[in-house]
């Protein structure tokens, strides 16, 4: 039996599928603008899961009727898929703070809660399906208000704890990102979106507590709206994923003789003179060549207030030294790209000064500024 709610939900669902498809295509085409390919890939997985899998499972379990068992199974799967989406979003949020690092403490708790949730959903009476009218034929469209899923106390409690924990961690992460970021005005939509994201979660919790189907339908509609907002943000501001709470103090390029070929200061306070690092680097390499396997190069130098990331270019006899507050994989990727550009631009000059007896004219490298500005634009 068709009713307004069913038709509205089906229309909304197909519209949402279309938007999700467009967004995935956009993210794929512009994946380089999202910082790293991993972030672009994670975003696509989140869209695929929330836009296609979660939404479809939800729709199939409340708008379409197959059989009591199948609908119950689809409903349980939709709960799991919903949590997977939220967790992946949480991972992305954490990557803003520390790229490619998963915080152990919160994820330990999440693993246990996930285990508890899946375990409880396996138990037959954890969620009970009820149909208000005589059971309809299979493969029919039904009024969502007629189908109802009852959670037992333990199942409801586990879902509420899991959602509450995720919500609190979401807000905490968003606040941290916002407070630590230099360009707060650009990260502001992310903060707002995190707060709006709490509304559908709250609706689902209310559905579990009061067992009223209206909250369930409100949950999916509000979720579509929130995710739609996220899609706009993803399309409009892909660079947002670059604006990390990291800072770069300076970039220095040293020749193997210790001569500093170029130095660029990002205008932040850092007490050490850049020229010193060339000498120190040579010193360290002298020591390490005796104590340690020659293939084992310096990866990171840590001082009391900064971390110095070193990228060697053995073939061309120079090293790029980036002084930052904290090393992360995005910085490493950017250094790699910068080094390739630098090498390609100054290939002749670098080849000439391979001979240590040649006089090095550092003015030849003065255009390095352009390469730095091009590669590290968002840290400027």
């Amino acid at each position: 039996m068709l009713n307004v709610t069913s038709i509205s939900l089906i229309t909304g669902h197909f519209l949402f599928l279309l938007l999700s498809g467009i967004t995935i295509l956009y993210v794929y085409k512009n994946r380089k603008r999202y910082g790293t390919e991993l972030i672009a890939c994670l975003i696509s997985v989140i869209i695929l899961n929330s836009g296609f899998i979660y939404s479809s499972l939800f729709m199939c379990s409340v708008v379409f009727f197959f059989s009591l068992e199948i609908n119950l199974l689809l409903w349980k799967l939709s709960i799991i898929s919903g949590f997977v989406s939220v967790t992946l979003t949480l991972v992305i949020y954490y990557f803003f703070r520390e790229y490619k690092k998963i915080p152990l403490g919160p994820f330990i708790l999440l693993s246990v809660l996930y285990g508890l949730l899946i375990g409880i959903l396996i138990i037959p009476n954890s969620v009970v399906i009820e149909y208000a009218l005589p059971i309809p034929n299979s493969f029919t469209i039904i009024a969502p208000s007629n189908i109802h899923y009852h959670f037992n106390i333990v199942t409801g409690l586990i879902i509420i704890i899991l959602y509450s924990f995720i919500s609190i961690y979401f807000i905490y992460n968003s606040m941290m990102i916002y407070l630590r970021t230099r360009k707060r005005e650009r990260i502001f939509p992310l903060l707002i979106n995190s707060f709006i994201f709490l509304i559908p979660i709250l609706m689902f919790i209310t559905y579990i507590i009061f067992q009223l189907t209206i909250f369930r339908e409100l949950d999916i509609i509000l979720l579509w709206i929130t995710i739609f907002g996220l899609y706009i943000m993803l399309i409009k501001e892909p660079e947002m994923f670059f604006i990390l709470p990291n800072e770069i103090y300076s970039i220095n390029i040293y020749h193997k003789s210790g001569v500093m070929l170029y130095s660029y200061n990002f205008g932040k306070k850092f007490e050490m003179d850049a020229a010193i690092w060339g000498n120190i680097l040579i010193g360290l390499n002298h020591i390490l060549s005796e104590f340690i396997d020659k293939t084992d190069k310096i990866d990171l130098i840590q001082t009391k207030s900064a971390e110095i990331v070193v990228k060697y270019e053995d073939d061309y006899g120079y090293a790029v030294v980036v002084i930052t507050n904290r090393k992360n994989s995005i910085i490493e990727d950017l250094i790699k790209k910068f080094s390739i550009n630098f090498k390609n631009t100054y290939i002749l000059e670098l080849a000439e000064i391979q001979d240590l007896n040649r006089i090095i004219n550092i003015s030849e490298f003065k255009d390095t500024k352009k390469i730095i500005e091009q590669n590290f634009e968002l840290y400027l």
Partner: protein, 365 residues
């Protein structure tokens, strides 16, 4: 009957272990986090052994026995999670996925706990003089089997792949024997849960006790267990700010290294570093390399530095360097403050005593 004997034996072994550790407590150094994990592990194991034994004997009534059997299941999973995940994270220190086994175990732990908490998942029955438990929930039995199988497989993969990472090869061998015993005990345990066969239970408990005895023996025999599981120091060097080598010690050979045997490039390197870093505020503390770490510690007042090449940096190592620096500075304060012109390094030979005192667990040669 058997339960009382096993529990009595078990408590005796634990008491002997505790007394030994307390008597030689100054030899046991461990990072606080690691120590915490070890304590939780032992609490889990003790609780498991006692509750598992008591739950099968007709000592308590049916409902209480069922309750303590549930506790024993959860304790066994918890302690296996702790032991197996600590093992894989210690042996894969530099691996980015070192905590994946922990996440997997915890997920399965949560899943099994949910299924155990369902009152209808298993029922208690009387069989002769014992209680036996019949699992009604097939998923529970399947996930229990999966959990223990996965833990054994991960343990073996980690042990085989990470064998080379052990600093102490004797310890690595001990670990091999223990993992063989652990695998046997666990398989007997899971087959007992499936079949509820009394012989399997007694065999499981016997192997379990032997395994526990081995753990206690290792703790007594190798106090360095908590410290040098995988860490290793290669070189220890003391330099004056002028670039002169005051003392050098190689932990692999267990011998002092004379200045003449150190190549010129080291001295050049040290001169560079000391000249540039000895008087500035933002000093170098640590250099991370692919497979090694170099920890620096400067004494700006007396103008000397300690450079330590190790497998990886940790808080115990840093603490040891600090205490070494304090002792060394105290002992040579006068000499170091007057060092200029022609430097006589013969007065610093006693540095070995301080190394022996502060880094004795790392001296393998």
């Amino acid at each position: 009957m058997f339960a009382i004997v096993f529990i009595a034996l078990y408590i005796s072994v634990i008491l002997i272990g505790i007394i030994f550790v307390l008597l030689r407590r100054e030899q046991y150094k461990a990072e606080l986090g690691f120590l915490f994990v070890v304590i939780i592990y032992f609490i889990g194991e003790i609780l498991y052994f006692i509750t598992f034994n008591l739950s099968t004997e007709k000592i308590f009534d049916l409902s209480f026995s069922k309750f303590i059997f549930t506790i024993s299941l959860i304790c066994r999973i918890s302690s296996t999670t702790l032991w197996s995940s600590s093992h894989s994270s210690e042996l894969n220190k530099t691996n980015k996925v070192r905590f994946i086994p922990l996440i997997l175990y915890l997920f399965l732990f949560g899943l099994i706990s949910s299924l155990i908490l369902d009152p209808s998942s298993f029922k208690i029955m009387i069989s002769g003089v014992n209680y036996v438990y019949n699992f009604n929930s097939l998923p529970l039995l399947v996930f229990l089997f999966l959990f223990y199988t996965v833990s054994i497989v991960i343990l073996w993969i980690t042990q085989i792949k990470g064998f080379k990472n052990f600093s102490d090869k004797d310890l690595a061998q001990f670990n091999n024997y223990y993992i063989i015993l652990f695998s046997t005990t666990t398989l007997l345990y899971i087959f007992y849960l499936i079949s509820m066969n009394e012989i399997l239970r007694i065999l499981h408990l016997t192997f379990y006790l032997i395994g526990f005895l081995i753990i206690i023996y290792i703790i007594i025999k190798k106090p360095s267990l908590f410290l040098v599981y995988t860490n290793r120091i290669y070189d220890f060097i003391i330099f004056h700010k002028s670039g002169i080598l005051l003392y050098s010690y190689n932990f692999q050979t267990g011998k002092e290294v004379e200045e003449k045997s150190l190549k010129g490039s080291i001295l050049i390197g040290i001169s560079h570093i000391m000249a540039n870093l000895s008087n500035i505020e933002n000093q170098l503390t640590y250099i991370k390399m692919k497979d090694k770490a170099i920890v620096f510690n400067f004494d700006k007042q007396l103008g000397f530095a300690v450079l330590l090449v190790a497998k990886h940096k940790n808080s115990i190592l840093e603490k040891s360097i600090n205490t070494f620096m304090n002792d060394f500075s105290q002992a040579h304060k006068e000499k170091l403050s007057k060092l200029n012109g022609l430097i006589d390094i013969s007065g610093f030979e006693d540095a070995k005593e301080y190394i022996n005192r502060h880094f004795k667990h790392y001296i393998l040669a």
